[in-house]
């Protein structure tokens, strides 16, 4: 005469199990978005690279001379070598400077420790040096004032926080960080309206700003398919997809079309 009891037992056990399993299921679905799968560190032995040049197709607009009469201390610096606006800087053979080339897609969710070494942005002769800065999110940016006048540094980002700080001559460097990826944050100095610069922020280290020779090289890329993008302040962006095998190096060229009006 044990059957009724055993029946109860079985039923109770079944109920308990189903409840437990239900609970477990809910737990996992809840936690899913919060937990990022730990990305494997980049294996430096198998990485490859993408390199190439950026060119401008068509004539570059003639750089305009900047009149710095409003700021005599800077005008003096440029007395012999006048300053030109740096919107389009072309090298020999149509190579294009100040283009940020970077991995747009394909780097995955890997978290990269931001470098501790700061990237510097100097204000010298009332121009920003360099004109385009690229750095990693949370990597320090050091703003230097080498001029004998007060500048204000005023980045106007979309996804990061806007700030605007005054830097009198001789003041210590301003150290700031940007928390989020953003290409590219325009920077201006309200005191000297001709001063312009751009800051590109990435969550990975796969980026480079071209010099006058227009060349770039993105190193340490693990095997995979990448969207490589090039950004220019005037000509916008253009991108290409590259698939890299382990230890493979590929070459990619970017060509921006010069605007017909210029």
């Amino acid at each position: 005469m044990r059957s009724p009891y055993s029946l109860y037992l079985v039923m109770a056990a079944a109920l308990a199990f189903s409840l437990l399993s239900c609970g477990k299921k809910e737990e996992t679905t809840e936690k899913a978005p919060a937990v990022t799968p730990a990305a494997a560190p980049v294996d430096l032995a198998t990485v490859g690279s993408v390199s190439g040049t950026v060119k401008l197709d068509g004539p570059a607009p003639k750089p305009k001379k900047i009149n710095m009469a409003a700021e005599p201390s800077c005008a003096a610096i440029h007395a012999s070598s006048p300053a030109f606006d740096e919107e389009v800087v072309e090298g020999e053979g149509g190579t294009l400077a100040n283009v940020v080339v970077y991995v747009k897609e394909g780097a995955g969710n890997r978290a990269f420790e931001p470098p501790k070494t700061p990237v510097t942005l100097d204000q010298k002769g009332c121009t920003y040096i360099p004109h385009v800065v690229a750095l990693q999110a949370s990597q320090p940016l050091d703003v230097i004032n080498s001029d004998k006048t007060t500048h204000n540094i005023h980045p106007v980002p979309k996804n990061n926080r806007e700030w605007n700080k005054s830097q009198p001559p001789g003041a210590p460097n301003i150290e700031e960080v940007f928390g989020r990826e953003e290409v590219a944050i325009p920077v201006k100095c309200n005191v000297h309206p001709w001063m312009k610069s751009y800051i590109a922020v990435f969550k990975h280290p796969y980026f480079q700003v071209t010099k006058t020779n227009g060349s770039f090289e993105l190193k340490n890329l693990p095997a995979g398919t990448y969207t490589i993008e090039a950004w220019h302040e005037k000509y916008g962006t253009t991108s290409q997809t590259v698939t890299l095998a382990a230890k493979e190096s590929k070459t990619v060229s970017f060509v921006f079309k010069a605007a017909s009006g210029d």
Partner: protein, 1066 residues
């Protein structure tokens, strides 16, 4: 045979007698009820009969008197002349009028003949035109209809027209001619009517002139008017006279629906303007009833009041109290029975009726008793314990702003913590959209914080103002250790009214041991220093002169008994030398607002030099250094006294203090008070001080935030009688027995009036026969130092302080300039401006009545401020009130009237107070706000020469009396420097002033009659200098323009010139 029952009363007894008695009783009852119906319950009927009789008698006496007056006027040469002119003018107009009348008649007759025919023709033509218009243009039908119209217009009408010589002629017209004739006649008629008006005008104007002359000369009503009144009195309709206000508005009062119904005039017939016009006053004596106690026939004694409070809007009872509907007895109508909550105010309290609507006024015109009551309520420190809406509540406001600041600071802190949290979340956000939102929230928080900062800053500014405005009735007790003779303190507590008979401080009911404990607490809680600067002795003789000359006596009195001289706004200083420390007195006289330690309301303590030293700061705190070194909040840096700084030199302060120290009785001595340093007494003393609410009137260390102890009295007059605790006196009050056992002159005093009067006379009275073994259980209210008149004024004020029964729009809360006047009075009375100045017409300043300002010395009085708003530029006035020396460095002087010894003090007004005062003066002089100075026409070269000559002419030696800035000259000056005019004065006022100064300020040193009117402009009335003779424009206007464009250089030149011309002239 009928059965007889010998025991049946119906058969055996007669009911004749009881029936007869019943019949009589019934008849009597009917008669009684009829009597009651017509007379008993209608006492007003007999009043009306009597009024009709005595009033008719009075009028009958008056009529011949007035007729005689009229006759005298009509027979006067002036009237006859005017009357003659009227007649002459009428005569002159008559021929033309006759002609006009004749022609007008003729036209009327012609029109009458013409009109019918014309209207008939017009009807016909119009109808045809209408039918034509029904067809579109260009159609044949329209054309044919048009032909019909043309045909109709050609039809000939024969009219029989009258001719000028009276005959009738028949004339024939086509339509157009008929219309023209009709219009011509109409036009001519209009012309004639206009001309008639023109011709009639001269006699009409002259008639008005004659009648006006009659009205001006005639005193009282004319005989005809009186005859009209007599007729009304003789045929007086004996009926209820009722004023009904807003009958359709049930919300007018609590007296019931159907609005306000007042039937007071049923007995008080003299107040009915239909019977006794407002232009006529009627008193009992006029009616031959001077001695009667039952003759309610006088007219309203204040017709001015009635004009602004018409009975149609206000009725009677809203102002006077009483039951306006009741008619059956005087007692009921006056509401003096237990079921009526608003009894008629007694004569001595009638101004209580103003308070209900005028609660927001500090000064109500026509209500001196009420005003006195309000003034006492504030000045005697009732407000220290009893909150009253509208009266000073700065301490509550300071507390509220401090709490608000605390709360905002906490909010700010929370927000500041939230920002980095949001930033972090934004950097880690999964997508840019979220990141942007989070970043935006962080950015918004920074803006919120900055808003909080702005609000805190505003609250700090407000606190700063409030600290300036906060005044205590009594002196600060924080400084007793430097101010007072220690042993005097317990004496004062026990003998308050003996030591200083007119003091504001009430006498507390204290036992000897309580006095010791309180004195010990006061002494021990006093701030310890820093020690005051040691002052060398001054010259008491010179001090006395300064005391009398600088204006101290506008507020302070000296002398005892009947020898008291000076104002009663502040303490009588007769015995001040017995209690005050010299060094303290010197500092006080030099600047009474100076404190030994600033008070920090956040830390709730008085800061010392050590607090400043901690932050490396010098121990400097004043209105420019009023932030706490520890937390940055506003400090109380002034003593909370209304006494202003007279900007004396230290030497003068020493002289005055030396004089004050001599004010004491020779034999004054006080027992040593060793207990005062006993620390064991301090706690008990503190408890007692809290119990008796000393901090309501005094600043006391550690008790700065004590709330007011007593009942709020804003609506005390509405308190039901059951809630006023007559205690063991209830029965006596109902029987009319006063607490001292005497009979109450007005009978029972069980009402609000009785309660207030007895409470004010002796607050302890309601403890009579109560069992209260612990002194702390007894009634706490101290005995105020008030006279019987004061008690009446305070009672009047309290009786009137009721929950408003009238609708909101009856409350006197004007939205226009009168509001500025209303608000200004609170400041003017707070600082006793009227001690030195005349501020409203008819008011006397305290100084005016002092012996040192009589006769010739009137010239030394401060200026009257009645025309101040019209006189000065409000922007200038604001600066002047802030800094009456009109200098940042040279403070020992008057900024405007440098020649006056009496000193306009520095009150350290808050910005709000200055604004209220400036607006007050502007509104009181009906000035538009804001004031934009008019542009004055610049002077031409010729004008400048003319003006210079006028300015310095021997007949108008302006610069003899007006100060010039040259000390040698200015010591005899009696008028302000002209250089101030441009910033200070308004040109329009200046012009009125130089034309007739005595009209603006009677008794001024400035002479009238400097100019005479010639045509439409003013000419200098002295001998005209040569250059002036050719100048055709207004001289007064020229001088005003010159004055407003005067420069220091020009004035220097003038003073040089005066000497030169004076020399050459002789």
């Amino acid at each position: 045979m009928p059965e007889t029952h010998s025991d049946d009363p119906i058969q055996s007894r007669s009911f004749t007698v009881p029936l007869l008695v019943s019949v009589f009783l019934l008849l009597l009852t009917v008669a009684w009820s009829l009597y009651d119906e017509f007379y008993g319950l209608r006492p007003w009927r007999s009043y009306q009969h009597e009024f009709a009789k005595v009033y008719a008698q009075y009028l009958n006496n008056q009529i011949p008197r007035q007729q005689n007056r009229e006759k005298l006027i009509r027979e006067s040469a002036e009237y006859k002349k005017l009357d003659e002119q009227v007649r002459a003018a009428e005569e002159a107009a008559r021929p033309r009028l006759r002609e006009i009348g004749k022609e007008s008649d003729y036209i009327d007759r012609r029109l009458a003949a013409l009109t019918d025919r014309f209207q008939e023709a017009r009807g016909k033509v119009t109808a045809l035109v209408y039918t034509m218009e029904l067809y579109p243009v260009g159609t044949n039908s329209r054309k044919s209809k048009f032909a019909e119209v043309e045909q109709a217009k050609k039809e000939i009408y024969a009219v029989e027209l009258p001719t000028p010589d009276g005959r009738v002629e028949t004339k024939k017209f086509v339509y157009d001619q008929l219309e023209a004739e009709f219009n011509n006649l109409k036009a001519r008629k209009a012309q004639l009517v206009a001309e008639q008006g023109e011709v009639l005008r001269p006699p009409k104007e002259l008639r008005e002139q004659r009648d006006n002359y009659f009205k001006e000369k005639m005193e009282g009503l004319t005989a005809d008017q009186l005859k009209g009144l007599l007729n009304a009195a003789e045929h007086l309709d004996i009926s209820i006279r009722q004023i009904n206000v807003n009958p359709t508005d049930p919300g007018i009062n609590n007296f019931g629906s159907g609005g306000l119904v007042d039937r007071c005039q049923s007995c008080h017939l003299g107040t009915d303007p239909k019977l006794v016009p407002l232009a006529m006053t009627l008193i009992k004596a006029d009616l031959g009833l001077a001695k009667s106690k039952d003759a309610p026939f006088a007219s309203h004694p204040e017709t001015e009041l009635l004009k602004i409070h018409t009975t149609e809007k206000f009725g009677c009872s809203p102002c006077h109290g009483g039951n306006g509907r009741a008619l059956d007895s005087v007692r009921r109508a006056h509401g003096r029975y237990e079921h009526w909550l608003w009894p008629l105010y007694y004569a001595e309290n009638y101004q209580a009726g103003c308070q209900q609507c005028h609660a927001a006024d500090m000064l109500t015109e026509h209500a001196p008793v009420l005003n006195r009551g309000k003034d006492l309520y504030r000045s005697r420190g009732c407000i220290g314990c009893h909150k009253f809406e509208g009266f000073d509540d700065q301490s509550e406001q300071i507390l509220a702003s401090r709490q608000a600041i605390r709360q905002l600071e906490q909010e700010k802190k929370d927000d500041e913590l939230e920002i980095p949290r949001l930033n972090k979340a934004a950097d880690a956000a999964p997508d840019n959209e979220t990141a942007r939102k989070l970043n935006a929230r962080a950015t918004n928080l920074t803006v919120t914080i900055s808003n909080i900062d702005a609000r805190i800053e505003q609250l700090e500014q407000k606190t700063r103002s409030l600290f300036r405005e906060e005044k205590k009735v009594g002196p600060s007790l924080k400084e007793v250790r430097m101010k007072l003779l220690k042993e005097w303190i317990p004496y004062w507590l026990g003998h308050t009214h003996e030591f200083r008979p007119a003091t504001k401080m009430p006498q507390f009911r204290l036992e000897q041991d309580q006095i010791q404990a309180i004195a010990a607490f006061i002494w021990q809680s006093g701030v310890p220093g820093p020690a005051l600067a040691k002052q060398p002795p001054g010259d008491a003789g010179r001090g006395k002169q300064l005391f009398e000359a600088r204006g101290c006596m506008a507020c302070h009195a000296v002398g005892e008994g009947s020898n008291v001289i000076g104002g009663d706004f502040a303490a009588n200083l007769s015995h001040v030398g017995e209690k005050a420390g010299y060094d303290y007195l010197v500092r006080w006289v030099h600047n009474p607002r100076e404190r030994t330690r600033p008070f920090c309301p956040f830390e709730k303590r008085d800061l010392g030099p050590e607090d400043y030293a901690k932050h490396g700061l010098a121990y400097v705190f004043d209105l420019e250094h009023s932030r706490c070194p520890n937390d940055g909040h506003e400090l109380q840096v002034q003593q909370p006294t209304v006494m202003p700084s007279l900007r004396l030199t230290w030497e003068e302060a020493r002289d005055i203090a030396s004089y004050l120290i001599t004010l004491k009785r020779k034999d004054a001595s006080y027992e040593l008070a060793p207990d005062l340093d006993d620390p064991r007494l301090k706690e008990r003393g503190r408890a007692l001080v809290k119990n008796y609410g000393c901090a309501g009137c005094h600043e006391i260390s550690g008790l700065e935030d004590e709330p007011r102890l007593g009942t709020e009295l804003t609506t005390e007059g509405s308190k039901p009688i059951e809630r006023l605790d007559f205690a063991r006196l209830t029965e006596d009050a109902k029987r009319g027995v006063l607490p001292d056992g005497k009979e109450s002159p007005r009978g029972p005093w069980y009402d609000q009036k009785g309660f207030f009067e007895q409470k004010l006379a002796s607050p302890a009275v309601y403890d009579k026969d109560k069992y209260k073994p612990d002194p702390l259980d007894r009634l706490k209210m101290p005995k105020p130092n008030v006279t019987a008149d004061d008690i009446n004024a305070l009672t009047t004020f309290l009786l009137g302080s009721v929950d408003p029964q009238l609708p909101q729009d009856y409350m006197y809360k004007p939205g226009d300039a009168r509001h500025d006047v209303q608000a200004g009075w609170w400041i003017v009375t707070k600082y006793n401006c009227m001690g030195c100045h005349q501020v409203h017409i008819g008011q006397q300043s305290v100084l005016q009545n002092l012996p040192q300002y009589q006769g010739d010395n009137k010239i030394k009085l401060p200026p009257p401020l009645i025309p101040e708003g019209a006189r000065v530029d409000p922007n200038w006035l604001a600066h002047f009130l802030d800094n009456p020396a009109m200098s940042k460095t040279d403070l020992n002087r008057n900024g405007v009237r440098s020649y006056l010894e009496v000193r306009m003090p520095t009150f350290s007004f808050s910005d709000d107070e200055i604004q209220k005062l400036v607006r007050f003066f502007a509104a009181a002089s009906s000035q538009a706000q804001p004031y934009l100075p008019p542009k004055l026409e610049p002077l031409t070269d010729t004008e400048r020469t003319v003006a210079r000559q006028l300015f310095t002419s021997p007949a108008a030696p302006c610069l003899k009396c007006h100060a010039t800035g040259d000390p040698a000259h200015d010591k005899d000056a009696t008028a302000p420097n002209f250089l101030l005019a441009r910033e200070r004065l308004k040109p329009a006022w200046t012009l009125r002033w130089i034309l007739d100064p005595a009209r603006i300020v009677p008794g001024t040193a400035m002479p009238s009659g400097l100019f005479r009117k010639e045509g439409d402009h003013w000419i200098f009335s002295g001998p005209l200098p040569p250059s002036v003779q050719g100048y055709a424009k207004d001289h007064a206007d020229l001088l005003v323009r010159y004055m407003f464009q005067l420069t220091p250089e020009e004035q220097l030149m003038l003073t040089g010139r005066t000497a030169a011309t004076a020399g050459s002239g002789e």
